[in-house]
């Protein structure tokens, strides 16, 4: 997974792909090599340490620079990558990887299992994004130059999936010994060239890429990302011909972009889940009825429409639409002011209540949605005072100190249900902050982590979803939103990456 759910400094709609098919546009002719891609990017690239940096914007470029042993494909299957094959033992506790030979890092050195071991040990012994996952790892070995073994202490289903993210990308041994990495060296098709903080980022083709291919590239000589955070300006500049490609088209402009024949418009759904976070440790939302009152006061469809102009989808399930984890029976509560009033009375606040509503200002769709939420809530007598805050304030106030009553945030369309169900909603989850706890729920999602059988797991998640809805969890889910891309018509190749939050440029080219 690219980022920690929605918690990175990115503006609205951007991310990866996943909705197979729609991003492939008539790459009829022969792919042509060369050229510089001018990319109008939404969020500035943050840190460049693949193991440390949670920002989607970072992952978006790192995806092309460093590589994992196992890669996620567009059909959500895990495929061998730097490991040309892997085996899992009967009891699901020993993982054995056979590495590709002849893979070189951008510094020219060949990749061996020593590098993999060093990279994973770095994560296991440090304070990195995936460090927690190594709690389930007993030992790691590199018996041969091209063989690598991991022994788990118990079956742990999310581990392989996690390996496919940049959190567990492979770095050369020397770099794996550094605490912090600013110029990553990887094995990917593109190598880091230069960057100017908050302004631009440049990657160049790595000529000795191990997996070069006439059909799959890499083709582009250079990719220059200009970082234009304002979606309207970005779109304007794109239309003025300054960029070949942009991500994060504002939903309101989708229609006009679609109608523009000189633009190749791509959408990838879903990309991120936006939710309304309620602090269940504090008045008034420590009261389930207060939460229900708010739930009934809101028309999720309307809110989604207001924010996304028909590009999104209201939801009541944290599982990505289209995945087997979705419980189709659970739907957003329809708006019902009478019920809202009923619950207000049950909560002992028949005249409603007033709360602060902290919105991270860099997410226009969330701000937009918040305005409608506040308006609708006011009809039920619930006053929500919007306060736009910076991302850093959000992190410290809302997330760390839990000094909030209501907020909005998002997480990326993570195909792996563990993230959706555990990371945010289980008290031990890495991103648990709303304070909503439920024994039954916790047991369900813990159990699901240990199961490798899809159907069984799905069953557990369906149940968990029901509990979320019934108990009105601190996450009042709002909508799924897509990734919206635009490019010039001579920009070819599949846009995006399977996990929804990143971009793969490998097979992209300019005609």
């Amino acid at each position: 997974t690219g980022g920690d759910g929605g918690s990175d400094t990115e503006t609205s709609g951007d991310g990866g792909s996943g909705d197979g098919g729609s991003t492939e546009s008539g790459s009829s002719g022969e792919a042509s090599s060369g050229g510089t891609l001018q990319w109008g990017g939404a969020v500035p690239v943050q840190g460049l340490d693949p193991h440390l940096d949670s920002a989607a914007a970072s992952s978006r470029v790192l995806e092309n620079i460093t590589e994992p042993l196992i890669q996620l494909d567009f059909d959500y299957s895990l495929n061998p990558h730097l490991a040309k094959e892997w085996t899992t033992s009967e009891d699901n506790t020993t993982l054995t990887f056979t590495l590709e030979e002849g893979v070189t890092f951008h510094n020219g050195k060949e990749m061996t299992s020593a590098d993999v071991l060093a990279s994973f040990e770095r994560i296991a012994n440090g304070e990195y994004l995936a460090t927690g996952f190594f709690d389930f790892v007993d030992s790691m070995e590199a018996p041969g130059d091209y063989e690598f073994v991991i022994n788990l202490s118990e079956p742990f289903a999310p581990f392989l999936a996690r390996m496919a993210t940049s959190e567990m990308h492979v770095l050369p041994e020397e770099q794996a010994q550094e605490d912090k990495i600013t110029e990553p060296i990887g094995t990917g098709p593109y190598q880091f060239a230069s960057r100017e903080i908050e302004t631009s980022f440049t990657m160049e083709k790595y000529e000795d890429y191990w997996d070069q291919d006439e059909e799959d590239g890499p083709f582009l000589d250079k990719i220059v990302k200009s970082e234009i955070t304002d979606p309207s300006v970005r779109l304007q500049s794109f239309r003025a011909g300054e960029y070949d490609f942009i991500n994060g088209i504002p939903p309101k402009d989708v229609q006009s972009v679609q109608n523009d024949s000189s633009v190749r418009f791509e959408t990838q759904f879903p990309k991120a889940l936006v939710y309304l976070g309620l602090n269940c440790n504090e008045e008034p939302f420590d009261n389930k009825d207060a939460r229900l009152a708010l739930d009934y006061a809101l028309d999720k469809e309307q809110i989604t429409e207001a924010a996304l102009y028909g590009t999104g989808q209201a939801t009541a399930s944290p599982a990505a639409p289209g995945s087997p984890w979705v419980n189709e029976d659970v739907e957003p509560r329809p708006r019902d002011l009478d019920k809202a009033q009923e619950h207000l009375e049950k909560a002992g606040m028949p005249d409603g209540f007033e709360v602060s509503f902290k919105i991270p200002q860099s997410y226009p769709t969330q701000v937009q949605g918040a305005k409608v939420i506040a308006d609708q809530a006011s009809d039920a007598g619930i006053t929500m005072n919007i306060q736009q805050i910076t991302w850093s304030t959000w992190l410290s106030d809302v997330y760390t100190n839990q000094n909030f009553q209501a907020t909005t945030s998002s997480y990326l369309a993570l195909y792996y249900p563990d993230v959706s169900f555990y990371k945010f909603l289980h008290p031990n989850g890495a991103f648990f902050f709303t304070g909503w706890e439920n024994e039954e729920y916790n047991e369900l999602v813990e159990e699901a982590r240990r199961l490798y059988d899809e159907e069984q797991r799905a069953e557990l998640y369906h149940e968990a979803t029901e509990i979320l809805q019934e108990e009105r969890a601190g996450h009042l889910l709002l909508w799924w939103q897509p990734n919206l891309y635009g490019s010039s018509t001579d920009y070819k190749g599949r846009i995006g990456a399977p996990d929804g939050s990143t971009l793969r440029f490998r097979d992209n080219y300019l005609e």
């Binding site: 440390l52 949670s54 992190l395 106030d397």
Partner: protein
């Protein structure tokens, strides 16, 4: 002149001291936890504490202040928490561009403002004066960012004459640098023109009522000589101060304008620093901007001294 200069520098040092104190005080009460921001939400308490002590954040404030000042004096502004690069490097990269933008804006403004101001003073209460003063009021009454938006819409989107924003380094393509500069510089220049023009006008009016202008008339000098030689040379002196002030204003205004035009200057860097609570970076940005401000005022004082013989030759005044 030496005394004058020495005194200005003395003032500046004292002011600078206050500037550092204010900067330090304000930035240190910014909400948010830096360590958390760096380490990300997964960090443990121990690692947060370790990082804090590594960053010196567990020291008493006054020690932090002194450390900071000592560093500043040695040209070391610390390391950006967010980007892990030396603050000085980060700022140096952006500073030039903001200066370029502010200079261009000021130059545009001066180019138009001074003749306009002179004309409207000479034709006081006549049509040119009224037109100029309308222009002036409009110029100062519309927020710069709105001008920016309007200029983008008209000149970039409708007519496609200039790029909508962004920056190209002159080393890459000097012509592109210029075309990218035109819109931001002129939308800010527009607002500045109004200020400088008003100042020129009132300064001219004041000078024109001076006794020595009367004498020049009594000597039979023509209107042209009186206005351009006798009046303007005196009136320009206070205008210089205003121009310098406007330069610093332009420099401050870039915070918003750079955001509008995506001009990667120190204004945007400051916003980034604010948003990510990158204290060393924010402190660096603020100090540098304040320093530029003070330097431009110092320049104004020096120019003032240079243009006003009473100070140039007087030693004291």
């Amino acid at each position: 002149m030496y005394n004058y200069l020495a005194r200005r520098l003395g003032f500046m040092l004292l002011t600078l001291l206050f500037v550092t104190v204010i900067t330090f005080a304000v930035t240190n009460i910014l909400p948010g936890n830096v360590a958390l921001l760096i380490l990300g939400p997964n960090a443990t308490d121990q690692s947060i504490q370790a990082l804090q002590s590594q960053l010196g954040l567990d020291q008493p404030l006054y020690i932090q202040y002194i450390d900071w000042i000592v560093g500043l004096v040695q040209g070391d502004m610390g390391t950006s928490l967010r980007f892990g690069e030396p603050v000085a490097t980060l700022i140096a990269e952006k500073l030039g561009r903001s200066l370029l933008l502010a200079t261009a804006a000021t130059a545009i403004a001066v180019f138009f403002a001074i003749p306009l101001g002179v004309i409207s003073a000479v034709k006081q209460n006549e049509l040119p004066d009224l037109l100029a003063s309308m222009f002036g009021f409009i110029g100062i009454s519309i927020p710069i960012f709105l001008w920016g938006l309007v200029f983008i819409l008209v000149f970039a989107v409708w007519f496609g004459l200039f790029p909508t924003g962004g920056y190209v380094p002159p080393s890459e393509d000097p012509v592109a640098t210029l075309t990218h500069l035109v819109l931001p510089a002129s939308s800010m220049g527009f607002a500045l023109t109004a200020y400088i023009m008003r100042m020129t006008r009132s300064s001219m009016l004041e000078v024109l009522s001076e006794e020595y202008i009367n004498l020049a008339r009594a000597k039979g000098m023509t209107q042209r000589v009186i206005v351009l030689k006798h009046a303007l040379q005196n009136a320009i002196i206070p205008v210089i101060t205003v121009v310098a002030f406007q330069f610093s204003y332009a420099f401050g205004g870039v915070v918003v304008l750079e955001e509008v035009f995506f001009w990667p200057g120190i204004g945007r860097l400051t916003l980034t620093a604010i948003q990510s609570r990158d204290i060393p970076l924010l402190q660096g940005c603020i100090i540098v901007v304040a320093l530029i401000y003070m330097l431009s005022n110092l320049t104004a004082d020096l120019l003032y001294g240079y243009f006003d013989p009473r100070i140039r030759y007087g030693g004291d005044e």
